[in-house]
Symmetry: C2
Subunit: 389 residues, 2 copies
């Protein structure tokens, strides 16, 4: 029996309740605060942004999690990132945790805090306090979907994924849209499972999954101050194939983030095969999805494969042009160091679809990697020039 | 007496003739082929793209220059890059050199070849041969300006710079616009001087100048297959301060390239001060000018300084947020790890200008660096999505 993808909410995990409310951080009464509360403390691990500039909630959640390695409540707001806010920002993030801890009746170190939104402004604490109270009153087992909506910023759709194998379930929500780059991004993902895992195992499986999912996506090459992936386990069910299920859910969420990149119309999947090392495969795959020129060409439906070669030539890894085979979809466009007389119109038609696959066979070794990104459209510039995120 | 900037053409150097013609590589009878011929062989050195994917003219010119370290003719075409064209591309680049050598009556190794334009298509040799013949017939001492025009691709203005100190002159032309990134770009620059320099000295001064000019600019983070900077010296005049003059000309041309980035409306100058090393200062300065989010914010006139901090936090270098001072123009917007209550409207007004200066004082050491880039506009996407370059 293998893991099957299924749209599962975090609240489908036994003992998990949630609520999403609007407390006025975002305009137009949009949902902007999510609270997730577990019946009991759950083992948890998290990975955070590697950006030197870390937002206050990142610093606070890391500290909290280090105390027990457990989480019983998760509080997330959108609209304000609480980043670059100095000592006051730290206090504000602690305040969020304390407000939740007080209501749930737990230690504040069992509360995990995340924020996303505009950098460089102080949190509106009154609104947050009001939101927490409202959310706590509204906790239920039926609000799994609205959580995904409440953590959105410039996302155009909520990102929910799950997988099931017998009684074992994994469920995750994520947000992305901008500042999305390897080493995560302004992306938040919260994944829960009922599968029983040791503390070290939890860390190991999360890192493994993140390395081939969230670390392999890029929207704009910009990594963020708030990136967070949390994994918690309520530990009710035994399952030896958990890694496989987690990989599925993490990759599914990562692809949703890439597809929903700011202004994006297309998901780009880049597959690198036969590299000399896994790292080489990963770096080369990512070099394509971060190239503004490749992304713009795909937005315009232009079969400009020269830009793909130029982008992979920009990494620290050298390769032999005589050995490379380059595919756009199923069309071989470059091999043996010569442009090929392929049917350009057919490739242009392929590029009109909303998923574009680029396959690069290096023929240097035996390692493969995949990365995901999106096209670069005028809309991306509009969003980031005229609307603050 | 110090070097003075002056608009000087390559043909202002004694013994240099040039011609620019249209031979049909670009549409609308635009100039697309430039020929520069010197009375005598001149000492020369060049720096080329570090992209693994090197265009044929790069490979050929490198080989030619290695033979004698001399150049007597320079042939440049725009419209077709002769990149990713395999063995046939090499032969085509050699063909360009041979056609010139034949007419001028010199060895082909004294001919330097450069191409810029669309990647992945074979050169139209007949048109080039015709163009070379036409250009040879039209060589004159008065066509310095048209050279800069003939090497343009998506450039919106020709890039010419020069400096003078007594009898000593330096003159350069360049092109840029897209695929512009540290380690040069689809940028070509040809700089000549009458100052006498040893062969090793020539290499050393060029590297030094390029490191603080062309290597510090970025338009789109994409490095190209054809990047080339050539420096030649006719060796007529003695001048011990040549490096200073060359720095001026190289930085002037580099800034023109950044300012004229595809779709750009603004030049962005990023100054990093008090870094622990020169490399750190350079890397951090460049991390700002390559950030799509910073560039888009500046396009929209948004004083979104959080994006500047996030972009510098993305490098391998760590720093202490408590020590950083961040200026937009003359406005201090972040210091002591706190957002400051500056006048946002004044900063927005400043951002309306066509030159934006960002100054980052790290307060960690004593090294400084500057980088230049441009804003990211919808026009950039249009150019790269719908028009091939």
């Amino acid at each position: 029996m293998s893991w099957k993808t299924e749209k599962l909410y975090l609240t489908n995990i036994k003992g998990v309740k949630a609520a999403a409310v609007s407390c006025g951080l975002k305009e137009d009464n949009k949902l902007d605060l999510a609270l997730i509360v577990l019946d009991k403390p759950a083992k948890a691990t998290a990975m955070f942004t590697r950006n030197t500039v870390k937002a206050a909630p990142v610093i606070v959640s890391k500290k909290h999690l280090e105390k027990y390695g457990l989480v019983q409540a998760i509080i997330i707001n959108s609209g304000q990132a609480n980043a670059c806010t100095g000592g006051r920002g730290i206090k504000d993030a602690e305040f969020m945790a304390e407000e939740v801890a007080k209501r749930v009746g737990i230690e504040k170190e069992l509360v995990f805090v995340a924020s996303t939104g505009k950098i460089g402004a102080y949190l509106e604490k009154e609104k947050i306090a009001y939101g927490i109270e409202l959310a706590y009153k509204n906790l239920s087992e039926n609000s799994g979907e609205s959580i995904a909506e409440a953590i959105m910023t410039t996302d155009t759709f909520p990102k929910i994924s799950g997988a099931k194998r017998g009684d074992a379930v994994i469920s995750g929500v994520a947000k992305g849209a901008g500042m999305i780059h390897p080493n995560m991004a302004t992306m938040l993902a919260f994944i829960g499972t009922n599968v029983k895992l040791g503390s070290e195992e939890l860390k190991r499986v999360l890192k493994k999954s993140v390395d081939k999912s969230f670390h392999q996506i890029s929207v704009d090459g910009c990594s963020s101050t708030n990136d967070t992936v949390l994994l918690f386990s309520t530990g009710e069910v035994l399952d030896k194939t958990f890694q496989k299920g987690l990989d599925m859910v993490a990759q599914d969420l990562a692809k949703m983030i890439a597809r929903d990149g700011e202004g994006a119309k297309k998901l780009i999947e880049v597959i690198v095969e036969k590299a000399r090392s896994l790292k080489e495969a990963k770096v080369i795959a990512r070099s394509v999805v971060v190239s503004n020129l490749v992304k713009a060409a795909i937005a315009g439906g232009d079969d400009n494969w020269g830009r793909v070669l130029a982008s992979i030539g920009q990494t620290e890894y050298s390769f032999d042009l005589n050995k490379i085979e380059l595919y756009i979809g199923d069309h071989l466009v470059f091999a043996k160091n010569e442009p090929l007389g392929y049917n350009s119109q057919e490739v242009k038609n392929y590029l009109k679809g909303n998923e574009v696959r680029i396959r690069i066979i290096l023929n240097e070794g035996r390692y493969s990697a995949i990365s995901w990104g999106c096209d670069l459209t005028e809309e991306y510039v509009k969003i980031n020039a005229y609307y603050r995120t």
